[in-house]
Each structure stands twice: as structure tokens, then as C-alpha cells.
Assembly symmetry: none
Homo-oligomer: 306 residues x 2
């Protein structure tokens, strides 16, 4: 039987205090059978993203430990940042890697949600593939109004009854848990501080206002620059290349340009190879032409045989 | 610790007897952790080229086994072919791929050379980046006169004293071992049949006429289209991106454009990732951000620890 591999990419509402970020990362590291792949923090968003992978039960245990640590060390009543959020541990998605289906990741989200609700007394909302109500397939709808709005709404608004845990939020807020396809978080900085331009471009490229089907985007001011902050929620179906082309043209029309871009967390190799192949106008490009791809492929075959 | 990947492309003086070619290829195949990428034979040249890759120590072992097999099965006194050669195993270059430097490949060439000299009693000359004398950076100067001329010269000419092994050649001849950068063969087709334009662009981008240091280029007519045919002999130092930009601008100046491009053979992942990162204007991009790279890397580290 092939070993199952699942990825978990929790987002925490702390991007400034290293001791808090380290405590959360150590909570993940402490679990045998879990591979810590990456973590990065953003001081302006006051937010950190941790990426780890492993066999399903170990990954659920590590996610629970990290959420517990965050709930003890982060106080939403004093937290501030430019990024919308509901909780100390804000969003916890499971992503299927080797020998895993999206449905199996939905089951992991339900297991974790039940424990976070009952053992940590934190309200949990299931989202995307794990959502129990149509409007909660979109993270934005779950997170609308942020922590501040949820404090009252959770007690009064029947639509905001959590899937697990109490019908009230403490200082750790609420946690959104779910299952989804691999996601690419990619930000483009413009050569201007004109946030209105970044917002216009975001509206043009995101699905919610008529743009690309699997693109979410926001315009904001970061490091004194207008930034188009993007999530590619299905980069296999909506590639990066045409989206970047649109952003460049729009920036040019506004007499500015793309200053630089940044990748948050990890990206599947196929997404970057697709960008290179499109830029080079490569005809009949096959991933088998990449040395490393063929190597890992054959090494996997060998390890199965031996 | 990042996993190192090295490529080896030995040339053997046998292109006609399948049983000999198969024995050499099998000697490579027998090593775990080594991927046989390709092998091809030329009957007129009476010569075969084998391409394989893997982690450094495994690749050195596989190269040694192949040289040993060739030295037992090929007799230079009866060998004939149109291609210049010194030995049964004629030329053995190491090429740095992931997380390898050219200097580390020079060390592999020295390790292999020492073993071939002492254990197989075959004279070894180091060439290109591994050469110990200026005139041996060029393969042609190491191979001048071929096996027939070397038989006497190695005993009489102080300039032809080998770097390793005996000052005499047996029937396996001498082996030339060295290190070089990976080579990328890449062709761009223009939206015109104007070969003169392809030649002008080739002259503009190639080192021999003042262009990019590590680019060789020719303009020709292929499938009714003007083609700029390129070899990138050090794609880490001369990346593809700026060269493609120059070709596009020159094509535009001539009121045409790039129709499409093609990759000949294999390309290191890092070369395509560099193209994507430059196109996207990614700041602080690290290959560790590629999911597959991090996964295989972390899994390797764990398997070392456990």
C-alpha cells in the first residue's frame, strides 16, 4: 500500500513577535512523522504562514498543537494588521499530496475541527471543500467583518453558528478549517503608492468581480508601495502567465510598471515551469525534458522495486 | 543539507558491437541512485555517448564501472572510426546540476582519475575546468594525434605526461576526464523566412562576435522559417532570459516576431526556474520554495537521520 501524504498550511495572526512565531513552529516540529517545509512572516499583515506535510494522523496532531499554541499566545483584542482575520489560528487548510484525495482531506478537516471545538473551546467554521453551507465555500464569506464583527454576530446571527465549538468567541477568536487544492500566494508590487490602482487591477483579475475563475486578489499598501495581493486557488486551471500580463498592461496604462513580485510559501514546480514555457513560447515542451523530473521519477520506481 | 545532483556524459570508442555497448550501459544501470538518461551510438564514428545523473558518489562509481567495462571489451589497436579518440573510454565530463559547483565536479574528476590510473592502470588526462595545464582546457589539444600518436609521445614527450596512471598506454588507450558546465540547446523560430535576419541576430548574441559570453549561435533556414540556433555553454552565468529579450527586440525592429521556440534534449530545472523568476520579477526567490524540491530534500534528510 502506498503511503499517504497530506500538506497543511495554517495561517496565524502574528507576524511580528519572533518568540510567538517560534513557539508555533516548534509545536509543529515536535511531531515525529511531520516534515516542516517552510514558514514565513509578514510584519505589515502581522501574519505568519507555516507549511508542513506528512502522514495524515501526524499532520492532524501537529496542526492541533500549533492551533493550541497560537490560542494561548495571541490576543485578537490587541492584534492589528492589514490582513482580514477571524482568529489567532485563522485558516487551516489541508491539501492532498501523494495518494490522497480531496475528500480524505475533508475528513481530516472534520476530525481537527471537532477537537479544536471541544478541547480548545474555540468556534470552528468549515470552508471550501469541507464547508457545510454553500456560502462558506469561499473563505471571504466565512471571514466577513473579521474578528471584531464576529464577536457579536456569532451570538445573534443564526447564519454564523459555528460547525464545532461554542457560540461565542474568546480572545483567540475563531478558526476556519477546510480542504482545498494546492494554492499559490503571489504578490505584485507596483512602482507607485497609488492603492486605488492596485484595487482597480485586483478587481479586474479576480473571479469575484468578473476576472480569472481561480484568482482571488486585493489591492493594498505595503512598504509604501501599491501591492496586488493574489491567491491562485487552482493554478493548474488558471496559470500565472496571463494574469501577470494583464497586471503589466494595466500598470503601463496608468503610466507605471511592476516593481517586483514575491512568492509567499511554496509553489508546485509545474506552475513555474508553465510560466517559463509560456514566456519562451516553447513548442512541444514536456516535463520529461527537465533532468531532475526524470531523475526523481526513476528513483521512485527503483525504491518501489527494491 | 541540500541534495547534490551531478550529470556524467562519457564517450566510448565503440559504436558497432551492440553486446559491448550494452555491457557498458548495464555497468551504469547496475548502480542504485543513478539514472540512465540516454545513450546513442554512431557506427561511422564507431563511438557511443552515455548520459546519466545522480548523487555524486554514485555517479563516480557508475562512471568507474563503465570505464572498467570499456577497457576490458575495447581494443584500440583494432579500433577504427572517423572520430578522433585516445581511449576505449575516451572522454568523461562531469556537469554540475542542483546544488553542485563546477569546483566540486573538478574534485569528482580528480577522484575518478586517480582510481582509473591506479586501479585500471590507464593513463588519465584532466581537461577543461579540471585541467592542470592551460593548453589542456581545450579537449582538442589533449586528444591531438589520437591514440596512435600518444603511444610513443607519452613515453618521450614531457608535455604529455598523464595526470594519473602509467606513462604508457595499453590497448585501452588513455582516458580524458574533466568538468564543464551544463549545455542547453535552444532554438528560436522567427515569423519570417529571412535567414539574413536570423544570422544578424546570431552575430549580435554570440560571444564570437561580441555577444553574450557563454552563447554560441547560428542563423539558418529550418522548415521554411528563419531560425536562431543556440547553445548556452554556461546557463548559470549567461541565463536564457536576457538573450530571448534581445532576440524579441531585434525581431520587432525588423517588423517580425518570435514564432515559437524549441528545446533540444534535456534542461536543468534551475535554468527554467530562473526564466520564470526573471519573467515574474520575483524578489528573493529560493529553489527551496518549490514544493517538490523541499519535499524530496526534507525526506532525504529524514532518511539520513532515521
Amino acid at each position: 500500500m502506498k503511503s499517504k501524504l497530506v500538506e497543511c498550511i495554517p495561517n496565524f495572526s502574528e507576524g511580528r513577535r519572533p518568540e510567538v512565531i517560534n513557539a508555533i513552529v516548534d509545536a509543529v516540529r515536535s511531531h515525529v512523522g511531520v516534515l516542516l517545509l517552510d514558514y514565513s512572516s509578514d510584519a505589515d499583515h502581522n501574519r505568519s504562514v507555516v507549511t508542513f506535510a506528512g502522514e495524515p494522523s501526524a499532520v492532524v496532531e501537529a496542526a492541533f498543537s500549533a492551533i493550541k499554541a497560537a490560542s494561548e499566545l495571541i490576543d485578537l483584542d490587541t492584534h492589528n494588521g492589514t490582513h482580514p482575520r477571524l482568529g489567532a489560528a485563522d485558516v487551516v487548510p489541508f491539501v492532498p499530496l501523494d495518494n490522497m484525495t480531496l475528500d480524505e482531506c475533508v475528513q481530516l478537516a472534520q476530525q481537527l475541527g471537532e477537537r479544536v471545538g471541544s478541547e480548545l473551546d474555540i468556534p470552528v467554521y468549515l470552508y471550501e471543500a469541507a464547508s457545510t453551507r454553500p456560502e462558506y465555500t469561499r473563505l471571504e464569506s466565512v471571514r466577513r467583518g473579521g474578528y471584531e464583527a464576529l464577536k457579536d454576530a456569532i451570538t445573534t446571527d443564526p447564519e454564523r453558528v459555528p460547525d464545532y465549538g461554542p457560540k461565542r468567541v474568546g480572545r483567540a477568536g475563531a478558526t476556519i478549517i477546510g480542504a482545498r487544492h494546492p494554492l499559490v500566494a503571489f504578490n505584485v508590487y507596483l512602482g507607485t503608492d497609488d492603492v486605488a490602482l492596485a484595487r482597480r487591477i485586483a478587481r479586474l483579475i479576480r473571479a469575484s468581480s468578473g476576472g480569472f475563475l481561480h484568482v482571488k486578489a486585493l489591492g493594498m499598501l505595503v512598504d509604501g508601495r501599491a501591492q496586488v495581493s493574489m491567491n491562485f486557488t487552482n493554478p493548474a486551471e488558471t496559470p500565472l502567465f496571463p494574469v501577470i500580463e494583464v497586471i503589466r498592461r494595466e500598470a503601463e496604462r496608468a503610466n507605471t510598471s511592476v516593481h517586483h513580485s514575491e512568492l509567499i510559501g511554496l509553489i508546485p514546480q509545474s506552475v513555474l515551469l508553465d510560466v517559463a514555457a509560456r514566456y519562451l513560447q516553447l513548442e512541444n515542451f514536456r516535463v520529461e525534458q527537465v533532468l531532475e523530473y526524470r531523475l526523481s521519477d526513476v528513483l521512485k520506481q527503483k525504491s518501489i522495486l527494491e
